[in-house]
């Protein structure tokens, strides 16, 4: 069809682009490709507006039936025009063409079609659509059972999904920002701008957020005037005023996607999506956590389609979107247009179309009588008006070529057209009001859901509140802004609401056209038709949640924004109930889909969690130490030397060196807590299972800490430095939890005690110096004033000393290795230097540095428990410390630790193991099975917790929990390890493998 005469001029290179109008920058032309072909557009375009400018409507294929689909909307509610944007690592599936901004060189590809958008083999699915109805797969593919994984499911999965995720890591950066504000205004349309102005003028902090690149909302989507001038001039002035205020933040390209408790809102800013790639070091997107005392929701409304036959044909478009393309982008999406509406607002599209030179074939208004607005439009434009008429079916395949209209008399007429502008009314964008459980309320006059109970501190402005006219939006926004600041204690200010039209919001509901031919889609993306809803109803899925789940309605990337209310209305119609009786749909966050990268921000790759470095880290790396993750810490695990073939080789050498000479190990990661106060002793007695009252000043003692349920939770040493001054260590793994537990006890359980608990973990760089020559080595470090001879500083002695010429230090005669050993602590800034000093001083003694591997070997050789034994299920009795448990005092875990199940003699308890074949390797995680019985669950006697190759013994050794363990010393059992193919005979031994008498530790 030809374009009508007297049309406004067009751009010869973009056939549907008007020469004037809209916000696009015609001074620059940029090129982009769609499915490999090059097109032109302008800055300010979305991909959708640029495609439309080039006469392209067909943008994708539907999910299930692969039906050709066109651009239907001009916003984030778009169900059809989903593209893959960019290529390679930046490939981005399912991007809405209606949201994506055009940039020079943009590459867009259609999805879910093969080999091409134009010719898609999978469109045969459409022929099978009588079978592929809602829920058909629940009834089939059941036999034979194993075919599901092998045959049916792979076939289904091949057809699944729309776009393809990139194959490699996302190269872009993301960041998160927290913002605090008095008033958050969600939406930068006329209501939002008024609210922001009202709040800002009263001096409050304001953040105003809009999803689009330009503020203005429907004021610039429609050809509106404010105060007698084009609305865009007023928008610009409002924007300038806001931008000039220091306490106003304007966030464009930003969508608030979630309402969370406590006035927290999450928003996503598309920082660089409109650029070929982000600027160096700058993020692609930014997650905003906005903490707002008050929020004004001015999120507008989304137009809904009317359900009629083949209403998914490309070229059937929402009427409001048609106006957006004309007024915001200067694009006429079609030349011969049928406008189909059930409301006055939709009818106004006629005016915009005529003004931009399109031929309006007819205005089809389902209402029997012309409203005042419609009559005015019809007489002003002279178009054909069909009242009481409905479009029953669209025809055409890849583009609509006409419609069948059933007139008021029931006659069917065919109208030729290339665009159908449809308006079924508007659904306020109430999603953010429902995230905290608020239930929407049906409004009969406006035929839509309005927000019900609002989240605390939220108010509404504009069409989200049902104020659809521009006048009402402006005044509603102003009132919402003013009330928000008033509630925040600001002086009420009077704000003059600018003049604008108070258009009619009259509507008569029409959800779907009865007796239509063809398929009538409700949810376009998921191919849910009105027939599917009927089927669901027939099968008993009448509840909204059932309907959604059974048909997948509303589950697609458009979140059902154009579908849900229509579906509900159709279900109501079928079941002869009202819409509110039928149910409501509650939206879950996010309001718009959000890239996972943005929700992760900085915290990915190596930055997933912070890394803690111990004081000797730098030195250890210089020495070639291999470091290993221990919680957040990176700890040296072994220090390989030339000629050593693996970690085991190295660990053996390190152990041998410690046992024969001396070794140095960084143990700074242990939790260290300073406990002071006149009741410190009483306090410690209550949190440890053993008696500490008798601990003399200058001494240390081992202590075990239980949970209240009697399970052994942590262990460490308690050193006493003064009458009211203790210094305790916890395991590395439990440092944080143990401190928390102690604070719980001191603040909540026994606040009457005078005790102060202060973490000192990081104050001290602490090194274990272990081995027969440890004292000699230390002698070279410790200032001569201090006697550290075995007599002067015996086992379990502690003292405050100085080292290296006056550096304050703490010395502890403790041993995890079983050798004569010390732990020496200096202020952490000297940690690196002390390590170097110890190393230098140790040379003459043949000292080595050792890491967590050798540390582990030696503690296993000594039978000391550690993480694998402290697994959260073991009691003091299980680990052989039952004798330490005090019977005389109250302490955490005392009472419940005495429950029968906790003292059951059948509980596996700690013993040692060595392989019968001394060359055999042991592995922890193996289970113990007595000889001569089957390896079954009934015969499972326990499990190996820790193993090591013991250089001192020349074979592997292990610790583990064995039923009746201590009474089975000498027995041979199987260490059964089927997941690693192991089945090793082991002898049960005492859990001490070196120096059973414990003489070496005393020197």
């Amino acid at each position: 069809m030809a374009r009508p005469a007297n049309s406004p001029s067009r751009d010869p290179l973009q056939p549907q682009r008007l020469s004037n109008g809209g916000l696009v920058d015609r001074s620059r032309t940029i090129e982009f490709t769609f499915d490999g072909r090059t097109y032109k557009g302008h800055p300010g375009d979305t991909v959708a507006s640029a495609l439309l400018a080039n006469g392209i409507v067909l943008a994708g294929r539907s999910f299930k039936y692969h039906r050709p689909r066109g651009i239907i909307s001009a916003g984030s509610e778009e169900p059809n025009a989903l593209l893959e944007l960019r290529t390679g690592a930046r490939r981005e599936p399912n991007t809405k063409a209606t949201v994506a901004e055009l940039f020079d060189g943009l590459e867009a590809t259609s999805q879910n079609r093969w080999p091409s958008l134009d010719f898609d083999v999978m469109s045969v699915n459409s022929l099978l659509s009588p079978i592929f109805v809602a829920g058909f797969y629940y009834k089939t593919f059941m036999w034979p059972a194993k075919f599901w994984e092998k045959l049916y499911e792979p076939a289904i999965r091949r057809a699944a999904g729309l776009g393809r995720a990139a194959d490699v890591a996302d190269p872009d950066l993301y960041e998160k920002v927290t913002a605090h504000t008095d008033v958050l205004v969600i939406g930068g349309g006329p209501a939002g701008l008024m609210a922001a102005l009202a709040a800002a003028r009263s001096g409050k902090r304001v953040v105003i957020v809009d999803e689009q690149a330009a503020l203005g909302g429907r004021a610039i989507d429609d050809a509106a005037t404010i105060d007698g001038r084009p609305a865009r001039d007023w928008v610009r002035a409002a924007e300038e005023e806001l931008a000039a205020r220091p306490d106003v933040t304007i966030l464009r390209r930003t969508a608030v996607f979630g309402t969370y408790d406590g006035g927290t809102y999450a928003a996503i800013e598309r920082v660089a999506d409109h650029l070929p790639q982000p600027k160096d070091h700058h993020p692609r997107q930014r997650l905003w956590r906005i903490v707002a005392k008050r929020a004004v929701l001015a999120s507008g409304a989304t137009e809904r389609p009317i359900v009629f036959g083949d209403n998914d044909r490309p070229g059937v478009m929402l009427a409001g979107a048609v106006r957006s393309y004309i007024n915001r982008y200067g694009v006429v999406p079609g030349d011969n247009v049928v406008v189909f509406t059930n409301n006055d607002y939709g009818a106004t599209t006629v005016t915009d179309l005529i003004r931009s030179g399109a031929n309006v074939v007819a205005l089809v208004d389902s209402r029997p009588k012309p409203s005042e607005t419609v009559s005015r439009i019809a007489s002003a434009t002279g178009i054909k008006l069909l009242n009481g008429a409905v479009v029953t079916r669209a025809f055409g395949k890849k583009r609509v070529s006409g419609v069948t209209v059933r007139t008021q008399t029931g006659a069917e007429v065919k109208l030729l057209c290339d665009l159908v502008a449809v308006s079924g009314g508007w659904n306020p964008n109430i999603q953010l009001t429902t995230h905290l459980g608020g239930k929407p309320a049906w409004n009969d006059r406006l035929q839509c859901f309005l927000p019900g109970a609002l989240p605390p501190s939220m108010s509404l402005g504009g069409s989200v509140a049902g104020d659809f006219s521009l006048h009402k939006a402006l005044s509603g926004g102003a009132a919402a802004g003013a009330s928000a600041v008033a509630l925040e204690g600001a002086k009420p200010i009077t704000i003059v609401v600018p003049q604008a039209a108070d258009e009619s919001d009259a509507i008569t509901p029409l959800w779907r056209v009865e007796d239509h031919a063809g398929k009538a889609f409700v949810d376009f993306q998921n191919d849910v038709s009105d027939k599917d809803i009927e089927l669901a109803e027939r099968e008993g899925f009448r509840a909204v949640e059932h309907l959604k789940r059974y048909t997948t309605l509303g589950m697609a990337t458009d979140q059902g924004r154009t579908a849900n209310v229509n579906a509900l209305a159709i279900m109501a119609e079928i079941t002869s109930r009202t819409i509110p009786q039928t149910g409501i749909t509650i939206a879950r966050p996010p309001y718009v889909p959000v890239a996972l990268g943005a929700l992760a921000g900085h915290h990915r790759g190596k930055s997933f969690k912070p890394t803690r470095l111990p004081p000797s880290y730098k030195w250890a790396k210089e020495q070639g130490g291999v470091c290993v993750e221990t919680g957040l810490w990176l700890r040296p695990s072994y220090f390989p030397r030339k000629g050593e073939k693996d970690w085991l080789d190295t660990a053996k050498r390190e152990v041998n060196t410690v046992r024969s000479a001396v070794g140095i190990c960084d143990v700074s990661t242990l939790g260290k807590v300073d406990v002071q106060g006149t009741d410190a002793g009483i306090f410690l007695d209550r949190i440890y299972m053993n008696n500490l009252k008798s601990l003399p000043i200058g001494k240390a003692r081992y202590g075990g800490m239980l949970r209240e349920d009697g399970v052994l939770f942590d262990d460490g040493t308690i050193a006493r430095f003064g009458d009211h001054h203790y210094f305790i260590t916890t395991t590395t793994a439990n440092a944080v939890r143990a401190l928390q537990h102690m604070e719980y006890c001191s603040q909540w359980l026994w606040p009457e005690l005078d005790v102060q608990i202060i973490s000192a973990t990081e104050q001290w760089a602490q090194y274990a110096v272990a081995g027969p020559k440890s004292r000699e080595l230390l002698q070279k470090i410790v200032d001569p004033a201090f006697d550290i001879s075995d007599a002067g500083f015996p086992y379990l002695q502690v003292g405050e000393i100085t080292v290296c010429g006056g550096i304050k230090a703490r010395l502890f005669r403790l041993s995890f290795s079983g050798e004569r050993a010390y732990e020496i602590g200096v202020p952490a800034r000297y940690g690196d230097a002390l390590m170097r000093k110890l190393w230098e001083a140790g040379r003459e003694f043949g000292a080595c540095a050792y890491g967590t591997e050798a540390l582990g070997v030696m503690r296993i050789e000594k039978g000391h428990i550690s993480g694998p034994e402290l697994n959260g299920n073991t009691t003091p009795h299980d680990v052989g410390l039952g004798g330490m448990v005090s019977k005389t005092k109250d302490f955490i875990g005392r009472v419940l630790g005495a429950r029968p199940g906790m003292l059951d003699p059948n509980r596996p308890s700690l013993v040692g193991f060595r392989p019968v074949d001394r060359s055999a390797r042991l592995r922890s995680g193996a289970h113990f099975i007595a000889q001569g019985v089957e390896a079954t669950a009934e015969n499972d006697d326990g499990y190996m917790t820790s193993v090591a190759y013991s250089p001192s013994n020349g074979h592997w050794i292990g610790l583990g929990f064995l039923k009746h363990g201590p009474s089975r010393i000498g027995e041979i059992v199987r260490a059964y390890d089927p997941v690693r193919g192991g089945d090793t005979l082991v002898e049960v031994v005492k859990p001490v493998f070196v120096d059973q008498e414990g003489v070496r530790v005393r020197g």
């Binding site: 950066l173 960041e175 998160k176 920002v177 927290t178 913002a179 605090h180 902090r205 600027k279 160096d280 070091h281 700058h282 993020p283 956590r289 903490v291 900085h602 915290h603 930055s607 969690k609 912070p610 890394t611 803690r612 470095l613 111990p614 004081p615 730098k618 810490w633 300073d674 002071q676 106060g677 006149t678 009741d679 001054h725 009457e752 005690l753 005078d754 005790v755 102060q756 202060i758 973490s759 000192a760 973990t761 990081e762 104050q763 001290w764 760089a765 080292v803 290296c804 010429g805 006056g806 550096i807 202020p827 952490a828 800034r829 000297y830 940690g831 690196d832 230097a833 002390l834 000093k837």
Partner: protein
Amino acid sequence: MADSTLQPTSAFSHLEPTSLPGIAIEPRENFTMASFAAGKGRLEALAAAIREAYGVELPRRPQRVVGNGIVFVWLGPDQWLAIAERTNNRDLEVELKQRVAGLASVVDQSDGRVIVRVSGPLAREVLAKGVPIDLHADTFGVNAVAITHASHIGVIMWQVDAAPTFELAMFRSYADSFAHWLLEAVASTVPAAA
């Protein structure tokens, strides 16, 4: 320790004092710092002792005060951090133990935490990328203190002046991770930082 053979080393392996348009960053380690917590029932006596020795009132809410070269930072209920330049081997643990003996538990923290100073008109914008609290001048302000976290790392922070200058103290072992985040946040904020 002038005559010691041990030299202190920095916990930061890649953070140098940096000055860019709108923002300056400076790691600080050469200070003496001690925490002290009031003994039960000794709060007023402790406050009096501090008043007498340093001429300041111990803050009872998240604030800092400066007296006699010492910055007193609120650290939680009945707890404070005292920080001073480490000149002439000043050792606040030793000094405070004398001043508040019997009134408070004093613990040396000079090495437990390092401090990063962030200063300049862009400081708030940069910090907001990791620090979740409201740093607006009307809310936080000079001498305000907060114990919170930045990019998953616990920090104690306070505002020194209206430049604005902030100082953030974190456990020593986190120094490099913190610096890594901070430099990334600076780079994404300051146009010239690339």
